[in-house]
């Protein structure tokens, strides 16, 4: 707020005591409470918060596109001198797209699936008088070129389903900037995109808005991203602004305890796993590297998974010439006892296929998987269910909600492996064992009787982990175990995993898209791309002296705070 005091200029966007209410079955709920925020022309401001903090609702209120149940209950929104909170809908329509525009999360869904992208850009320009019927086509192609769509004239005719996620996001950006608005609101514009794509999209936005002298309001859950691209960061928690400061200040001297917690929990260069926990949290076991001479637990040699090409429209013409798609293309690596290995790559690189093969849920095409000296690649998935080895390889799944049977209580879910694979002896002490496991993963025992929908995301993650370690497995595959969690919960879960490993002596294969998260937990990393391993080595070495260009690209793509 210091900006308004020292500069005589009028802010471009001025929110005062904005309160947004949603009508729910249980009565009105305030999603945003007395939020005040000023933005100058040309300024880039980030609103950061975890899910449910009201950051997106605030931006929807500015655009006045809240859904039916939501309404602005109090406060004012002034955009370059115009009060918007009670402006007539027709005036808002003239404003949207021409003065304020917006880009969204999930770009493919943000585009009309059955209209060519060129036409969609034209629609906006025609609406705001930025082009005539005669010039619209040329202007749309020009816009496509500005967002670096190659072969723009050709892509003008493309439908969203024919373009990649990153390309769709560029189209959405073109749509938003087509009428040269003064303010761009970017609502989680990079969530769901690969890290390298994230970087190019963010750079494109920054460059295009700077050239046009626009202001940008970036809504994100990622403090690092906001700090890297914004002049100022506003932190929101439970519908309220808790801190508002220049990005440098926020990183150097966060004032509010919540900001400090959030900042600590965010994985960043130089910070160790324990540094992510709030100050004063009980320190876990010291992080130890496994002895370098530990015997290998899992050895993968020239592993291949090939899928036949999908049937095309001309199936009767399909010759034998087309080779099958090799999702995993001859990879070799080993995991030693007590070691954590990270498997990193972007979507479609084959990391999930690899982990599913190692779990013996699908068959491999070629190569060998040796677990503790035994070849397990030959055992078909169905037979492996009855193998004594089944209990020794377990997995923690990506989405904690999806991986729990909605009709099983937490206890029943944790008990499942014991009941099936534990033998009679284990079944006798079932209840006690479940409580012990709950204690191990830090799940309050009284929650054991609850169903998944009665648990929070972090609690569900703990149930999933307890189930995976119930039989004291030797190897646990962690498939993006924190991808669906808020950063503060992620920090706690990562630490929990580290403690469990130290106590139980398991090995981990941590599958993730995020090198900076993998780094925290893993002794070694493997970088995959298009089904092949491009680089593997000790974590510190790979992070500091990446040998392969792709690894460098991945590392550079993560946003760097000032």
């Amino acid at each position: 707020m210091s900006i308004t005091d020292t500069t005589p200029r009028v802010p471009l966007l001025d929110l005062r005591d904005l309160t947004v209410e949603f009508a729910t079955r249980a009565g009105p709920v305030q999603a945003v409470r007395r939020v005040s925020l000023q933005m100058m022309k040309g300024e880039t401001v980030g609103i950061v918060g975890e899910s449910g903090s009201g950051k997106s609702v605030t931006s929807y209120a500015v655009m006045r596109i809240l859904d039916r149940a939501g309404r602005i209950a109090e406060g004012s929104i002034v955009f370059s001198g115009m009060p918007l909170q009670a402006a007539p809908e027709t005036a808002m329509r003239d404003l949207r797209g021409r003065e304020i525009s917006m880009i969204f999360q999930n770009p493919r869904a943000a585009l009309n699936p059955i209209r060519t992208v060129g036409r969609q850009i034209e629609d906006v320009m025609l609406r705001h008088g930025q082009a005539t019927r005669q010039t619209a086509r040329a202007r749309a192609v020009e816009m496509l070129e500005q967002v670096r769509i190659v072969r723009a004239a050709e892509r003008y005719h493309a439908y969203p389903f024919e373009l990649s996620g990153g390309m769709c996001q560029r189209i959405v950006i073109a749509l938003a900037l087509a009428c040269r608005p003064q303010l761009l609101i970017a609502d989680e514009p990079t969530t769901g995109l690969d890290v390298t794509t994230q970087k190019t999209v963010m750079e494109l936005v920054t460059e295009l808005t700077r050239v046009r002298g626009m202001s940008t309001l970036l809504i994100t859950h990622d403090l690092g991203l906001a700090a890297a691209y914004c002049d100022r960061v506003v932190v929101m928690q439970r519908g309220q602004v808790v801190e508002d400061a220049a990005s440098g200040t926020i990183f150097r001297a966060p004032a509010h305890p919540y900001t400090r917690r959030l900042l600590r929990a965010t994985p960043r260069p130089g910070a160790g796993l324990r540094d992510l926990l709030p100050e004063g949290a009980p320190a876990g076991e010291p992080v130890q590297a496994p002895p370098p001479d530990a015997p290998p637990l899992l050895e993968v040699t020239r592993l291949v998974k090939a899928y036949p090409r999908p049937l095309t429209a001309s199936w009767w013409k399909r010759g034998a010439a087309e080779p099958p798609v090799r999702a995993v293309d001859g990879i070799s690596f080993a995991i030693r006892r007590g070691e954590s290995v990270g498997l990193v790559g972007e979507s479609g690189c084959g990391k999930s296929t690899t982990s599913t093969m190692l779990m013996r849920l699908i068959d491999r095409t070629e190569g060998s998987i040796r677990f503790d000296g035994q070849e397990i690649g030959d055992i078909p998935p169905r037979a492996f269910t009855r193998s004594p080895l089944r209990a020794r390889i377990q997995m923690v799944f990506q989405d904690p909600s999806d991986s729990l049977n909605p009709r099983y209580t937490a206890e029943r879910a944790i008990a499942d492996p014991i009941l099936r694979l534990g033998g009679r002896a284990a079944r006798a002490g079932l209840r006690a064992r479940c409580e012990e496991l709950a204690g191990l993963v830090g799940l309050p025992v009284e929650l054991l009787g609850r169903l998944p929908h009665q648990l929070s995301g972090g609690q569900k993650a703990r149930v999933g982990i307890a189930r995976a370690i119930a039989l004291n497995p030797d190897l646990v595959i962690l498939d993006e175990p924190t991808a669906a969690l808020d950063v503060s919960v992620q920090a706690v879960v990562l630490n929990l995993l580290q403690d469990l490993k130290a106590r139980l002596g398991m090995s981990y294969l941590f599958v993730s898209h995020d090198l900076h998260v993998v780094r925290l937990l893993c002794d070694r990393v493997i970088v995959m791309r298009s089904g092949r391993i491009v680089e593997q080595g000790l974590t510190a070495e790979v992070m500091q002296h990446p040998r392969h260009d792709y690894t460098r690209e991945l590392l550079a793509a993560a946003p760097e705070p000032p």
Binding site: M63, I65, D67, R68, M92, R93, D94, L95, R96, G97, R98, S101, M102, F104, N106, A109, A110, L111, N112, P113, I114, R115, D123, V124, R127, H128, Y159, F161, V172, L175, A176, A313
Partner: protein, 336 residues
């Protein structure tokens, strides 16, 4: 063009299935077909002879082959009640049914789609309430019962409509046959009098069938429009300042029509069935009432012919719907 061919190919298995099932239905006829044909007083020898004549003593695959061959010649057997070939009977009566069904479908779509869209766009408005009433009532009303109610009110009490007895009253004569649809033919012949008479006769049965088809179309229109309106791309369109008209017509409507189009197949299925009941109520000389009469007279060849005709018609209708779908949705064109 290639897509069209592909879709045609895609309809072949359905067609084959339909013919096979119809064939199987003829083979499990109650009792023995041969003794049925021979009559109650026939001796064992004459039954055996008839069985040989009909080819019923051959193995099933051969019988099926003969059946298909007969179909290819357009031979659906003879009707015992009318003494005519079933094919001739069906072709003579089909236009009446087609006219009724198409008119009802057009009326239903003309009302239900705008109603459903309006209900979705203006939630809680009178259109929404009306839509809800129409949908709930429409699925609960037995179509033959609606027909009788309409007859009672509009014929017996108000006297507005003519007696529910066929396509034209006794004093009018049928227009020269071009398409077989009286409304179209009378217009082609510039015969306004006949057009009016035919329209008057059609009003009640069309209203009955239309009311019946109204409910599913309105419900899907409303539902899919609601879903589309809350879709991300509509939010993008709104956030770009596009006018509500443009958002609803160009962005939401076309997308919302995709599920409606799919449902239309189901609606056709219901309509072709309900047609039978409505034709019986209004003594409409279509294929449905023909089949019902044959059924009651235990005359099975017409019933089988009818089932087969309806099924083929329905397969073709679905094919049309598929093609239309491909026109609207570029994704369907690719995945063909």
């Amino acid at each position: 063009m290639r897509t069209v061919l592909l879709r045609l190919l895609g309809a072949l298995p359905a067609l084959a299935g339909v013919i096979l099932v119809t064939f199987l239905l003829t083979r499990v006829l109650p009792g023995d077909t041969a003794s049925y044909f021979a009559g109650p007083a026939a001796s064992a020898e004459s039954i055996a002879q008839i069985r040989a004549e009909l080819g019923l003593d051959r193995p099933l695959p051969e019988q099926f082959f003969r059946y298909v061959a007969a179909l290819a010649r357009g031979d659906l057997g003879m009707s015992l009640t009318t003494g005519q070939p079933v094919l001739a009977d069906l072709t003579a009566r089909l236009p009446a049914s087609v006219e009724l069904t198409l008119a009802a479908l057009l009326v239903a779509m003309g009302i239900a789609i705008p109603l459903g869209i309006l209900a979705a766009v203006k939630q809680g408005s009178w259109a929404d309430h009306l839509c809800r009433i129409v949908v709930t009532a429409g699925v609960s009303l037995p179509v033959f019962f609606t027909g009788l109610l309409l007859v009672y009110v509009f014929y017996f009490i108000l006297g507005w409509s003519p007696a529910p007895l066929g396509r034209l009253d006794a004093f009018a004569s049928a227009p020269p046959t071009v398409t077989g649809l009286y409304l179209v033919d009378s217009l082609l012949a510039s015969d306004i009098e006949t057009f009016r008479a035919a329209a008057a006769q059609m009003a009640l049965p069309v209203a009955t069938l239309g009311l019946f088809a109204l409910a599913p179309i309105a419900r899907i229109s409303r539902g899919s429009m609601l879903a589309v309106l809350s879709a991300d791309f509509v939010r993008t369109a709104r956030a770009s300042g596009l006018s509500p008209r443009h958002v609803i017509l160009t962005y939401a409507f076309r997308n919302a029509m995709l599920p409606v189009l799919t449902t239309l197949g189901m609606v056709f299925s219901f309509l072709l069935g309900a047609n039978v009941l409505v034709e019986k109520v209004f003594a409409w000389p279509g294929v449905g009432s023909y089949a019902v009469e044959a059924l009651i007279a235990s005359d099975f060849a017409p019933v089988q012919g009818f089932v087969l005709t309806m099924a083929i018609l329905y397969v073709l209708l679905n094919l049309g719907i598929d093609l239309l779908y491909g026109l609207i949705d570029p994704r369907a064109r690719m995945g063909a």
